[in-house]
């Protein structure tokens, strides 16, 4: 029963359901901040680490790295948080590369990476360009690049006629993006 509940939670998180996200955020916030402060972090850093842990948790769900919850959400959050606090103490908080980190509490590896470091000019430009791209394109690109779906799966989920249609849609989105950037 509990398992089923937590997997419904997982689905809601994956969909980005605001109510669920908010409930989880608020439920664990105080305890996490308290914990982080006890580890010697100042309030502002503690909040940052909490948000970063939260984001890392959500990202691992959307990339499919976490496919079902074997422990409570707070176990995941605190597990990730502990690692991040360790990194922060080693003064190299913003990890340079994406890395799989073993989270002791859940005995699994999760991706804990910070992309803010070393963002190139081209990438910044692409970020801007993406904001001008249509929602349909973003949906396809996110599913393909971030959520790890292969084209066949996207065809099914988004009801495309076939892989070829989707393939050319994806290429069109990429060309459009290139065009937008050229004019930025």
């Amino acid at each position: 029963m509990g398992n089923q509940n937590s997997n419904t939670t997982l689905e809601l998180i994956k969909k980005g359901d605001q109510k669920t996200l908010k409930a989880i955020y608020e439920e664990n916030r105080k305890r996490f901040l308290n914990f982080a402060k006890k580890q010697g972090l100042i309030a502002e850093d503690a909040k940052d680490v909490y948000q970063d842990s939260f984001i890392a948790f959500i990202e691992n769900i959307s990339t499919g790295k976490i496919q079902s919850l074997h422990s409570s959400v707070s176990t995941y959050l605190f597990g990730i948080g502990k690692k991040l606090i360790q990194y922060q103490k080693r003064s190299n908080y913003r990890l340079k590369t994406s890395s799989a980190v073993k989270i002791n509490e859940i005995k699994e590896e999760l991706d804990v990476n910070f992309l803010e470091e070393n963002v190139t000019k081209e990438q910044r430009l692409l970020q801007k360009g993406l904001k001008k791209l249509g929602a349909k394109c973003i949906e396809v690109l996110e599913m393909f690049f971030l959520e790890g779906y292969i084209l066949d799966e996207i065809v099914e989920i988004l009801h495309y006629k076939n892989k070829k249609v989707l393939g050319s849609q994806k290429s069109r989105c990429i060309s459009q993006l290139k065009e937008i950037i050229r004019h930025l």
């Binding site: 509940n5 937590s6 955020y25 608020e26 984001i55 959400v73 970020q127 393909f144 690049f145």
Partner: protein, 247 residues
């Protein structure tokens, strides 16, 4: 051009060994291929960054909502507190006229389990964890069950003492003063800072535990500290009320 599907396969992590060899070869020899691959790699990172930024904005929004909630809560709490103090004042006038200030009665008058703020249990919502069950039992006033469950909660951190705090109160609610004092004393003496100050709350419950255990002198010194020390904000009025009654 047809080789571009290798890039798709790269991102899907489905390149065969043979394809991977070709992929690497193209990266070195075919500048158009290399350029496209670099573009898509940047695209992936840009998508991630945008998504993260929007998630971060959502979380900042949650923080704002919390602040709003908190300020409304504070006003409400103050009004409620003022009402309680007035009522207590009237109540204690009546009470005093009967002259019944036995420490145990004072304990009974003032004791109220601290509300569960750490692990709010929403109706119908249950993640099935032991901790949730423990707090459910606590909220339902089933303190025996709560203690048992609190004992089985695997603490994430050794010095994570909020579980102990609620366990101590549960013992107190069951009039098991010795156990309550044993648990609350270390939390009460731990000096903590911040808004999440269990230690000063533990001091209040420790005072009540001493009262209930008829250890008047210890209770008095606790209550004196709570009512006079500026570091304390929790149950200050009540502490000085009880002191007055004891003297």
């Amino acid at each position: 051009m047809n080789n571009f599907n290798l890039i798709d396969k790269f991102f899907n992590d489905t390149l065969s060994d043979k394809e991977a060899t070709l992929f690497n070869k193209l990266l070195q020899e075919d500048s158009e291929f290399k350029e496209e691959f670099r573009f898509q790699k940047d695209l992936k990172k840009a998508l991630q960054l945008n998504k993260r930024e929007s998630l971060k904005a959502t979380l900042q929004g949650f923080e704002k909502d919390l602040k709003k909630k908190k300020s409304v809560f504070t006003i409400k709490t103050w009004l409620a507190a003022a009402t309680v103090i007035i009522l207590l004042g009237i109540g204690s006038l009546i009470y005093n006229s009967f002259g019944n200030d036995d420490p145990k009665n004072l304990y009974a008058e003032y004791f109220e389990p601290y509300r569960n703020i750490v692990h709010p249990v929403e109706r119908g919502e249950n993640d099935g964890s032991i901790e949730t069950k423990a707090f459910q039992a606590y909220e339902n006033g089933d303190f025996y069950k709560a203690i048992n469950l609190f004992n089985s909660v695997e603490s994430l951190e050794e010095d994570d003492n909020y579980i102990d705090f609620y366990k101590g109160i549960s013992y107190l609610a069951l009039n098991k003063n010795k156990e309550a004092i044993e648990i609350l004393l270390p939390i009460a003496t731990e000096i903590e800072k911040g808004d999440y100050d269990l230690s000063q709350k533990a001091n209040w419950y420790l005072a009540l535990a001493y009262l209930n255990a008829n250890e008047i002198e210890k209770a008095k010194s606790q209550l004196y500290m709570i009512s006079h020390d500026n570091a304390f904000t929790f149950k200050k009025e009540e502490a000085s009320d009880i002191l007055e009654k004891l003297n």
